[in-house]
Amino acid sequence: MLRSELRPDVTPHTSPASAEHVAAPGDAVPRPTSPAPGPAPGPGAGPAPVQLLAPDGTRRTDPEHDPWVADLDDDRLVALYEDMVVVRRLDFEATALQRQGQLGLWPPLLGQEAAQVGSARALRPDDFVFSSYRENAVAWCRGVSTTDLVRVWKGTAATGWDPRAVGMATPTIIIGAQTLHATGYAIGCAKDGVDSVAVAYFGDGATSEGDVHEAMVFAASYRAPVVFFCQNNQWAISEPVGLQARRPVADRAPGYGIPSVRVDGNDVLAVTAVTRVALDRARTGGGPTFVEAVTYRRGPHTTSDDPTRYVDPAVHEQWVALDPIARVERYLASRGRLTDELTGAVTARADAAAAEMRAGCHGLEPPPPLSVFDHVYTTPTSWLERQRSQYAAYLAMFDEDSADGAAPGGARGTDARGGDR
């Protein structure tokens, strides 16, 4: 067998608009193999994603899902629109802060605003979110402050917020680990006899991890009230979704006995509808649901990688045309709601949030050196106490030297405290 025949099929599952550009991987990605057994992945594979707002802003009729968003009148859609504009502005601001050296890293969510806002706004305060690191729009919707959004990325803390205060766990960096936590939390909700739901957010790449599969096994076995919300943004850093899955990722769940749905992840109305269906199923004892929000990560995986090395510009442009915010604007315009007054107010709100984030970021100070020993255990161990006191004595030595003028500026002491780069 030739080496090339052993390579995985990397054909993207869903074309943004048409099939022409789908099977056009650049030189940087492996060529598709000969036809695989069973249905090949591609634009025709799997059920068409649920869509309520077409890219041109027209409202599509969907008898199954329309009732679930019947309460979303123009005013409430405007609120979702405002959320999306604000989180995009925050995302740009954080990216800029990283470029300016204020943040060590940032994982942009550009293009995924509808998937995150539509799902997060469907949740109740008593539901609990377990996410990866890209769900900053979800965190915003849960009430996380703009400063808390950047705390981890500036490196002044290992978590930005108190999970219990906002109903959202501290994000996991290890891919897919949080899906099990959500499942366990959901089992706990069922034991407690409450109808709160746990939601796990993860990406298409995570569906290759064992944890996600074990989470689905456990969720199905215990009929856990959990929603698996997969944002298929087409990329796991540089690896296309086709390298992760030969069929739509939503197809995986039914094998575990979990109903799944594909939704247009750039359609905030459709995302809200399918999330509400999944939440309702969970609350009423129907068990888990797997949602595949088909969307697109328009920026890099993080500010550290270079998507021009692996992204086909033509495909990218097609997704840009499917912008989740623009389609809501088109819809609101058709309803006569997209006034200068509205866009002005929303822009002002977004600018204010961004300014708040920037100021908050600048105000973040490194914690005191000895706090490195805090919260390793609920009660400190003898080892840690010894190391803490020894290091405290060591640091104090520099303070004394500094006071004596023996070590001008206390240079190493300053260094130990970190500071902006």
Partner: protein, 335 residues
């Protein structure tokens, strides 16, 4: 006081924990109707229901990861890993999640998870059923690692582990499951802190540090050495992270000599940690370099070879001879 096997003492401790705290839930493979492969959970599902004693799918990462979510929800999960060698699929969840979440959240979230692992050799088992993986976990900040040596300590320590707000890896010496002893289940957990070592045999010539399955062997060593006129002090560590170095240090300051024994492989093992720490603390009290008696740096061998792998009475006695500089040492070691 009741005479119980170590296995029975663990069972009684679990029963007591389930009775005392409705937030305690047990998760594991085959722990329900079968009562666990070693019957440690025997009868608990029958008496407390499948909601409290949960048979799980066969997925160790799934068991531990689910326990994380339950802890987030306010539960106090007690996980059974069926055999030592099966913990590795859950290793990621244990070291990247369970161990770190309290720290990661700045103290906002607690992970009061107990992970019970039958460990060690000596039962003639097949591969992956006789491992001693304690060093991997003791190396990980955020985890507490403990092991028991007799029925009374098994009972006390397990109740302490379940009551602890930190995650605890609880190693059960499987070849001692059937050892019998008196168990007082009204012992107050606070009378013996979970991370305190204990001197199980007092002595004056050599300090012998052991834990888990080898504590019983170490007691035999002390008896045999006494026949030769050598007084061996046996220290049972109980806690492997943190280690109660103060107790070991105090003993070595008295005896001037240190032997450490464990079943786990030597390289990078806890013996090295203890030898280094005690050398640092007792350099001017030591009459000889600390010596380790451990499993060899090979994969755990087939059952018919394990008697050569496992430290036994003679190998430990030989080490006692060595730190005493006795010429008839079997190994011919001269330092």
């Amino acid at each position: 006081m009741t005479a119980l096997t170590l296995r029975g003492a663990l069972n009684a401790a679990l029963r007591r924990a389930l009775e005392d705290d409705p937030k305690v839930v047990l998760l594991g493979e085959d722990i329900g109707t079968l009562g666990g492969v070693f019957r440690v959970t025997d009868g608990l599902q029958r008496d407390f229901g499948a909601d409290r004693v949960m048979d799980t799918p066969l997925a160790e990462a799934g068991i531990v990861g689910t326990a994380v979510g339950l802890a987030y929800r306010g539960y106090r999960p007690v996980v059974e890993i069926q055999f030592d060698g099966f913990v590795f699929p859950a290793f990621d969840q244990l070291v990247t999640q369970v161990a770190r979440l309290h720290h990661r959240t700045g103290g906002a979230i607690r992970m009061p998870i107990t992970v019970r692992i039958p460990y060690g050799g000596g039962i003639g088992a097949v591969e992956h059923h006789s491992e001693s993986p304690e060093a991997y976990f003791a190396h990980t900040p955020g985890l507490r690692v403990v092991t028991c040596a007799d029925p009374q300590d098994a009972h006390t320590l397990l109740r302490q582990a379940i009551a602890c707000d930190d995650p605890v890896i609880f190693f059960e010496p499987k070849r001692r499951y059937w050892v019998k002893g008196e168990v007082d289940d009204v012992i107050d957990a606070s009378t013996a802190p979970m991370d305190a070592a204990r001197v199980v045999v007092p002595g004056t010539d050599v300090t012998l540090v052991a834990y888990g399955p080898l504590v019983m062997t170490a007691r035999d060593v002390a008896l045999a050495a006494a026949d030769d006129g050598i007084s061996v002090e046996v220290v049972d560590l109980r806690s492997l992270s943190p280690i109660d170095l103060a107790t070991v240090e105090a003993s070595v300051r008295r005896t001037g000599r240190l032997v450490i024994t464990h079943e786990a492989q030597q390289h990078g093992g806890l013996g090295a940690e203890i030898a280094a720490s005690i050398t640092e603390r007792c350099f001017y009290h030591l009459e000889a370099p600390p010596v380790r008696v451990t499993g060899f740096d090979v994969p755990y061998p087939a059952a018919k070879l394990e008697e050569h792998f496992l430290p036994d009475l003679d190998r430990i006695l030989d080490a006692v001879d060595r730190v005493l500089g006795r010429e008839h040492s079997l190994s011919g070691w001269r330092g």
